[in-house]
Every structure is written in C-alpha cells, then in structure tokens.
Symmetry: C2
Subunit: 166 residues, 2 copies
DNA sequence: AGTTGGAGTTCCGTAAGGGAACCCCAACTG
DNA sequence: CAGTTGGGGTTCCCTTACGGAACTCCAACT
C-alpha cells in the first residue's frame, strides 16, 4: 500500500482530512477566503511550489470546495469558495482561536475577527445545535451512528454462521 | 529551503497546522480522545507505520498536546490529552460536523455526539464569544491584529529612510 | 514581430511515508 | 534460571511527494 487514503475510512474526520488534510490546503483556503483568488497571487503569498499549488487547487476544485471561474476572455481563472468550501472555513476559525490562545505569545493574535451581528472583536466558541449551550470535548459522549451500526450488522452476519465459538 | 515550516509564519492557522497538520496527527488525537492510549493499540487501529506513529506521538508530546504517563513499573506508557490537547478536540468536532454534512452520504454519520448538558444527540455550531449569536465565515471582517501591526510598524521603519519614493 | 504576464508543466534532488524485520528489557513460565 | 512473551519502539530499504528553478503555452499589448 502506498500513502494512506483517509477517504475510505468510516470516519467523518478522516474523510474531511481527505479533502483538506494535505499540506498547504488549509492555507490556500484561508487565502481564498480573504480575497486572494489567482494562481500567482496565491503562489507569491504562500511561497508554495507551483507544482504543489496546481495539485492542491485541482484537488480542492475536484472536491467541490473551490470553483474555477474564468475572469477574462483569454484563459484566466479565479478560484472562489463554494458553499461547501465556505462552511469549511469554520474549521479555520477554530484553528485561529486555538492558535491565538496557545501559540501566539507576547505579540498577540495576528488577525482579529469583527462579528457583523454585534460589531465587536470576538472569537468563535462551540455551542450545541440542540440546546445552544457550550459543547466541547469533555461535554459529550461519543456513540456509534447509523453508518457504524450498518458496518457492525454486516460484520455480525459474517460472524453468525459459525456458532459454537465462545 | 526544504519542507516548509508553517510554525514560523505569523498566522495562527499556520501555527496550529504546525502542531497537528501532519498526516495522521488528527486521527491520533481522535483515538486518544475516545480512549485509546497505548502505542500498539493506536498502531493496530490506524494501521499507521510504527515509525511515523513514534514520530507523531513525540511531536504531539513535545508540543504539549499529549502527555506520556507511565502505567506500570516497567517502561510502559500511555498517552493522555493535556488541557491544550483537549481544546484541540474542538477542531475534530467541527471536522466531524462538516464531514457528516458533506461526505457521509446515504449511510449517515459514523458517530454521534450526545451532549451532557441536554442529553440530546447534537452537533457543534460556532457562536460568537461576545454576543452568542452564530458566527461563520461570512459573518465577520478579518482585521489585522496586534502581531501583524507590530510587523507592519517594523516594515515601515525599514521603508521610511528612503523618502522620495512615490 | 517581439514582449509581457498569467497559469501552469517538467525535471531533478531531497525528504518523508509505508512495510517489515529487528531490538530491548521487565515479567512470566516451566 | 534459560526461554518465551509483549509492549514500545528502531532500523532499513523502497517508493512517493515536496521544493525550487527552469521551461512552455497562448492571448493580448507595443
């Protein structure tokens, strides 16, 4: 087996990593989010190898996170976030918060978010979609969901036929 | 320059990636979070190369995300999340939500979260730390923060000495 | 006709991941 | 007390992927 394919694991984290887990992908997303849309612009900002930038952009376009839009009648393209990609930015915002808290040091945060709804500088916090209260790692039980239950049922069937095993 | 070091960029996203951006790291974190603590257990679950697992565990320990605890009087260790690591799990929870929504397909989510506070199956959503309303990619302006302002001031000083440039 | 500029491609050298075998050492086992 | 077991790594080799720099393509200026 060559380099592992996270996309095939039955795990939403692994599948998400399959889309943006490769080196540079989150930073490309960040740049596109804040308005850098063109190949050379991205390349100059990130100082990424052009080869890898090409690969990453294609990958992100293939997965529906970015969309390629012509911006001229000659073959020139801009990259824009799709809805799927825009929702991925949630992830970046959480990374930003964690990095600010644990890694920024004396100098403080490199960037700030101003929330349109209240006009204040703020960060994101995770809340429960059901009761709206904060919801973090230690506030939940992790239970098998439908996809895992299906898998387990399939496994049981294959195990059933040989009883007498204890 | 060899492989790029994200940690040196003035960007909390890049710095966070420096800690958990390498392949496998988020999945290792996930496993430790749900209670897998030992080398062989992680290796068997992830089918990761032992070499890389060693490297990743050391990296995560070095960065204070995991802590290595002896669990026997012979040299045996378990890996536990630190507070810093526990807060990183926020990221995994957001990934899980995105993966569930955009990649899970027919079979539905592999796992579910039950929120202790309300007892219900739920997911996370991002809210503003200031006004508590939802806060996503399109709800904010991104502004330069203290660390970037420092950088800009330093750059200006270096540019000032040659006026006449317009 | 010649240059420019955006958007890639190609090529090469090095570094990182995969796999499997090997090692160390404290505790059991007979 | 020699031999086995098992957790937790190391070592080695091979292949793939990244970094960097040069090259290509092609539509528009000049």
């Amino acid at each position: 087996m060559q380099r592992t394919n996270f996309g095939e694991l039955v795990c939403s984290i692994a599948r998400t990593l399959d889309v943006i887990g490769e080196p540079w992908s989150p930073l490309i997303l960040r740049d596109v989010w804040v308005g850098m849309r063109r190949f050379d612009e991205l390349q100059a900002d990130l100082k990424i190898s052009r080869k890898v930038l090409t690969e990453r952009l294609n990958h992100l376009v293939d997965h529906g996170v970015l969309e390629r839009r012509p911006y001229d009648n000659r073959p020139r393209y801009e990259y824009h976030l799709t809805e799927k990609g825009t929702e991925l930015v949630d992830l970046l915002m959480v990374m930003k918060g964690w990095g600010d808290k644990w890694l920024a040091g004396e100098a403080g945060p490199p960037v700030l978010y101003r929330h349109h709804a209240c006009g204040e500088i703020a960060d994101v916090e995770l809340h429960c979609t059901h009761c709206d209260k904060p919801m973090h790692a230690t506030d939940v039980d992790v239970l098998p969901g439908p996809a895992l239950q299906l898998l387990e049922a399939a496994t049981d069937e294959r195990v059933e036929p040989q009883p007498g095993r204890r």
